[in-house]
Amino acid sequence: MAEPKIKYDRQLRIWGEQGQAALEKASICLLNCGPTGSETLKNLVLGGVGSITVIDGSKVDAGDLGNNFMVDESSVGQSKAKCVCAFLQELNDAVKAKFIEEYPESLIETNPSFFSQFTLVVATQLGEDSMLKLDRICREANVMLIFARSYGLTGFVRISVKEHTVVESKPDHFLDDLRLNNPWPELRRFAESIDLDVQDTVAHKHTPYVVILVKMADKWAKSHGGSLPSTREEKKEFKDLLKASMVAADEDNYREAIEASFKVFAPRGISSDLQQILNDNRAEVDSNSSDFWVMVAALKEFIANEGSGEAPLEGSIPDMTSSTELYVNLQNIFQAKAEADCLVIEQRVRYILKKIGKDPNSISKTTVKSFCRNARKLRVCRYRSIEDEFNSPILPELQKYLTDEDYSVAVGFYILLRAVDRFAANYNSFPGQFHGGMDEDISRLKTTAVGLLSDLGCNGSTLTEDLINEMCRFGASQLHAVAAFIGGIASQEVIKLITRQFVPMSGTFIFNGIDHKSQLLCL
């Protein structure tokens, strides 16, 4: 209960001390501190990131006062980066905050090595050309990168990282690891030691459902040539058998057993998601492999050998109706098996490390343990480079989005957000940015968008007039509420990337501020 941690209590309950430590070690660079960038950083500074560097070459003008909370009237005429940085520092003195008064575009151009000092770069309101260049720089330097932009009632967030691996993906709903369909000898023996036909009604209603189901499944298998219920009729029959075993109506443990019986029917072995990770080329490890892939290699061996097709046991059990004694015993049996599995994996990890010429102790026991506990939930996220996406988007996907009603507005905004950059390159301003000439801008934007679509291989595709008009009406404005939304999403993704917990978004998030039917586009 160290004092400074109290203020982080509500977030420590989400990402724990480890996640917090990762945040406090991280150094974040922000490009452009308009409302989108400022709001992104605000959420990160509050959470206690290690350091921030704000980069913006512009001066505060009166227009900024209407959409950016980090500047006020006294800031007008001063460096925007300086003013935003000063306000952010006020929010949390544990954060090291600094600023550089320079335009990101020129920094990208003249000093690419500058970015390699950061854990992560948040690039806001960048044009297409700078995005492409920065993406190349950050990929080269292995610096994580997030793009965010708000534009009228739309905007986007896009992560660009070569590869992001997650051990603690913390999914909301995930089937617990009880092995009811494939109990190991100790669990089977424990179940056998308990008599379900006990006369004592108190004992009967306090037998945990895990024991009930293991025994029932065993009994079923014996009378069905070793197989478990698979057809609808068999499953119903199995549940009826459970119901018939109840001696009183108030037996919660039997009710739980009936509800959990699907866990007996579930297929054995690992999920296709995990199989895909095991099949990944990166699981063939060498001296350049990361700890994650070394552990995956060990996991693969375990599943093929000691695990007989199963991943290491997670080791925890959910709460269930039970006497304290039986529950605690059950918990110990699960934990012992998890520890034994983990030990095997650890030995394999050390052996592999040695084989690839690394220090066999370079991966800690705690790390291996966490990996084993989460083995079924591993995630690997990869992101296409901006260049690849922009020059050769996945065409079938793009065509699908263009014809799918649910996606039509989002993909329309996606195209238009790129078209406005082309427009700006040609006409030196964004469509509708200044007063007057709206009709001309609308027709020019339409031509630009159609041209872009055909460059992407979608000849003949078009966007609705309404959406094109709307984009011109936006006139490159940054509305505070939209910037706060986009900035909120960007900061959330930053946190997931830095803590290496939870699963970051895939693709490009297109914000639809008209009716909130936002979408992720994977192109």
Binding site: D9, L46, G48, N68, M320, T324, R473, Q492, M505
Partner: protein, 449 residues
């Protein structure tokens, strides 16, 4: 035009949306400087709650063209607020949230006026709430949402075809978060479902059975709740447990540790003890920012018509990837809160006192300790004592006379009702019809006297 290139105005960006016509806009959209000025000068918005969502909402609304805001919150600032409630600093701990939040936003956004109210939402006169064009909710409790919802719905009137009268609709925008998840919704009473129509979206919290705590504890939480709910009362006869007293919390923690050791149960920590006892909901800045921004944007769109509005419920989940979903829920036509009101048929002779007694037994209401108002007149008030005394003499008078002998009218009653073994204050609208008076014969009444 005011926006020249050389000297951008403060509303440079907002003007694009408020001054220019569009095709994907609300039916009432009338772009122009007048709209912008109306928004700034006459549109009054109430923000309920000055916590994680409330702080963001105030900032977002102040930067969305609104200049007349009020905020109500009964809490004082705590250290654990500082990771997300960005208007508060360490030296503000202990001060009322509403006051500090209002002051900070006014300091930074010139031209904005925010009136803070430090107190309970239930302690405000119902009339207080009628003043606002939109009520934005940044709350973390179901009870408080229910209450404000009932207040907003109490302004709603129906025409003779049971259609909501547009000028009586008090829109609400509601947000809620938990960890990486949240929701934002737009409630137009009488048009879209009110909070009560979709109350099933908020299932009551599951409590541990006392026999589990007392006899078969299995988890750390069971041990903590045993110490908190059973052991505390056994040892401290009569002394109430105060979750904000660190001594009390430490005592519960120590007892929970002892019990856990006794049963061989792992996992009792001080942090978990606090979490279980206070039912702490994890909260982070980013989710609050996202949900509040959605709510503020909807407030701007509702007030100006500058775009379509959310119809009507947005869910957000950022834990596993990023998922947003819009669901169009439908109204419950028989909703006790936003419907036309519970119909009650009465004799003209019934006294106010008898009527109040009747509310207690009415199967749809089960309302005890009712205070009764009719068209803004207090017929009987349970509190404060001054008002009680002033209205007490009405109790023995016939209700029919008290309401100016109208045969068919609407009454508002507030009182308490029990839900899930918990007493909550509620506000109900009643349609009262008197029997045996000309023009009213053989009404088909539901659940009358």
């Amino acid at each position: 035009m005011a926006d020249t290139e050389a000297q951008p105005s403060r509303s440079r960006d907002l003007d694009k949306l408020l001054l220019r016509p569009g095709n994907l806009v609300g039916a009432n959209f009338d772009p122009g400087e007048e709209l912008r000025d109306d928004l700034a000068k006459s549109a009054k918005v109430l923000v309920v709650g000055a916590g994680g969502l409330g702080c963001e909402l105030l900032k977002d609304l102040a930067l969305s063209g609104f200049q007349n805001l009020e905020v109500i919150d009964m809490d004082r600032i705590e250290v654990t607020n500082l990771n997300r409630q960005f208007l508060f600093r360490f030296e503000d701990v202990g001060k009322p949230k509403a006051e500090v939040a209002a002051k900070r936003v006014m300091e930074r956004v010139s031209g904005v006026n925010i009136k803070p109210h430090y107190g309970r939402i239930e302690d405000k006169e119902i009339d207080f709430y009628s003043d606002f064009i939109i009520i934005a909710l940044g709350l973390d409790s179901i009870e408080a949402r229910s209450y404000i919802n009932a207040v907003a719905c109490s302004f709603l009137e129906y025409d003779c075809d049971d259609n909501a009268r547009e000028e009586t609709i008090k829109p609400m925008v509601d947000g809620g978060t938990e960890g990486f998840k949240g929701h934002a919704r737009v409630i137009l009473p009488g048009v879209t479902p009110c909070f009560e129509c979709t109350i099933w979206l908020f299932p009551p919290q599951v409590k541990f059975p006392l026999c589990t705590l007392a006899e078969t504890p299995r988890t750390a939480a069971h041990c903590i709740e045993y110490a908190h709910l059973i052991k505390w009362d056994e040892v401290h006869s009569g002394k109430a447990f105060d979750p904000d007293d660190p001594e009390h919390m430490k005592w519960v923690y120590n007892e929970a540790v002892k019990r856990a050791e006794l049963f061989g149960i792992p996992g009792v920590t001080y942090s978990l003890t606090q979490g279980v006892v206070k039912n702490i909901i994890p909260a982070i800045a980013s989710t609050n920012a996202i949900i509040s921004a959605a709510c503020a944007l909807e407030t701007l769109k509702l007030a100006s018509g500058c775009s379509k509005t959310l119809s009507n419920y947005l869910t957000y989940n950022g834990a596993e990837g990023l998922h947003t979903k819009v669901t169009e829920f439908v109204r419950d036509k028989d909703c006790l809160v936003c419907g036309p009101g519970v119909l009650i048929e009465l004799e003209t002779s019934i006294t106010l006192q008898k009527f109040i007694g009747l509310l207690e037994e009415h199967p749809k209401l089960l309302l005890s300790k009712a205070s009764v108002t009719h068209q803004g007149n207090n017929l009987y008030m349970q509190a404060p004592p001054v008002l009680e005394e002033m209205t007490r003499s009405n109790l023995s008078l016939p209700l029919f006379d008290l309401m100016g002998k109208t045969t068919k009218t609407t009454l508002h009653v507030t009182g308490t009702t029990s839900k899930n073994d918990k007493k909550t204050s509620v506000l109900r609208k009643l349609r009262v019809v008197f029997k045996g008076v000309d023009g009213v014969t053989d009404m088909d009444t539901a659940g009358g006297a």
